[in-house]
């Protein structure tokens, strides 16, 4: 690749990095904020950022990968998986929202 193609991109990304470093110490975008906010709807029962109280009585979710979590959430939503509250709550979220939640709270693998 010719250097002259790359240069503006480098300059721009350097400025963006600078902005994130100096302007904000806030490496977050509006999209990330949205995703964190959506996932926080689960935190009352399953802990802040999905880190539940150990031995608190509520099933822990942070041992699941994002893929496993999404599979489980979709099974609750479809009725394939029985439960107490989760089948009722999962039906209130769109598939897209459940995917976002699973991506936010599940272990990355």
């Amino acid at each position: 690749m010719q250097m002259k193609y790359l240069k503006p991109i480098l300059v721009t990304s350097a400025l963006i990095s600078l902005n994130q470093w100096s302007g904000l110490s806030f490496a977050q975008t509006a999209d990330q904020l949205y995703k964190r906010g959506l996932a926080a709807t689960c935190a009352n029962c399953h802990g802040t950022d999905g880190k539940g109280v150990v031995d608190g009585g509520m099933p822990l979710i942070n041992n699941l990968t994002s893929a496993q979590m999404l599979e489980k959430l979709k099974a609750y939503k479809s009725g394939a998986l029985e439960g107490t509250i989760m089948p009722q709550l999962a039906k209130g979220y769109s598939d897209e929202q459940l995917t976002t939640i699973a991506n936010q709270l599940g272990k990355k693998q």
Binding site: P8, M58, T84, Q88
Partner: protein
Amino acid sequence: MDRRHFIGQSAAAVGLLAGLSSHTKAANLQKAEILVIGGGYGGATAAKYLRLLSNNTARVTLIEPNTSFVSCPMSNLVIGGSRTIAEITSPYDTLSKRHGIKIIQDSVSSIDPDKKTVILSSGKTLRYDKAIMSPGVSMNFKSVEGLAQANKDGVTLQAWKAGPETVALHKQLAAMREGGTFAISIPEAPYRCPPGPYERACQVANYLQQHNPKGKVLVLDANQDVVSKGALFKKVWAEQYAGMIEYRPKSNVIGVDAKTKTLKLEVEDDVKADVLNILPQMAAGEIAIKTGLANSNGRWANVNFLNFESTARKDIHVLGDAIQIAPLMPKSGHMANQHAKVAAAAIVAELNGWEINPAPVLTNTCYSFVNNREVVHVASVHQYNAAEKTFKTVPGSGGLSPAPSILEGIYAWGWAHNIWADSLG
């Protein structure tokens, strides 16, 4: 200069400008003084999530008069004697130690929304750019004749705000004469915690079964019928507490005679009881009313549901029990915690110069103990409806327990430990 080079430079310039613009707005987030008034489920969660969602850059001060948090959910178990007040109490200091929130132990005596200042009871004045008010409910003791004095004298107790009255009401129950009557009166909805009075009836009866088996529980309900989990509670009353709990709908208590422990009802004959747990009508917390925020019938605060900003005053956001609810939205601690997260995210977005989330979601989960082990729940999901500018429950979602279970008793404590950690830990 060739064209490609020009484009590159322009892109860089645009990037720089965007960066500067973002920088200015981010500085707004860092410089803004955010005051959170009230450290209940709504306020404590708002303070914590403002810090979390701003990656610890927002400046957040929490004003709360109490040194520790006592949970209303689970407090009926303390009245029933199966749990202690210590088990439902959490410290506030984790919010300062772990999350860098400044906590001022004081209450707010007044707010000037024009000058954007808050005057504390100590006399100190604080300036704010954003205020979040989560004042809970105020008890309108005047709605029942004689109640203000009776409650002041401790003859009657509300114990609806968990704390010393919770412990005092348990003591009154424990000291009740053999075969005596414990009366609970319920005001017309809306009030804080719709299933709470019915759970309380179960807890009192559960205590009586063990310690005063000839004792009675009389539930005087101003509403047409049981407001929440009706079929489940009625089944439990019939099966577990037959002959012990008497439920009277459409029974509005309008007066109390503290000397003779007599309740005056709107329609029916007077009722005498040994322990009087009179819940008066409720409204938004006093500071919300005093600030002119209770613009729904003078009782509750209307808010913009996208960010929970008061519709009466700019830059004051109201959370929790104090707001005029959306359809089927309960006044619960869980819901206040959810309000707080939507408000915190919206404030972080706004101060960053970003569009606030146009489609927030709320959930509610409420567990009620029908004895000291078995529990029933009600749950719901509320998605924002842009056309109607309100939250609406999603058809087909939510619901109730089919029957009381010990498993849900375990989950209920799991819920409590997690929401306390989520709000205060």
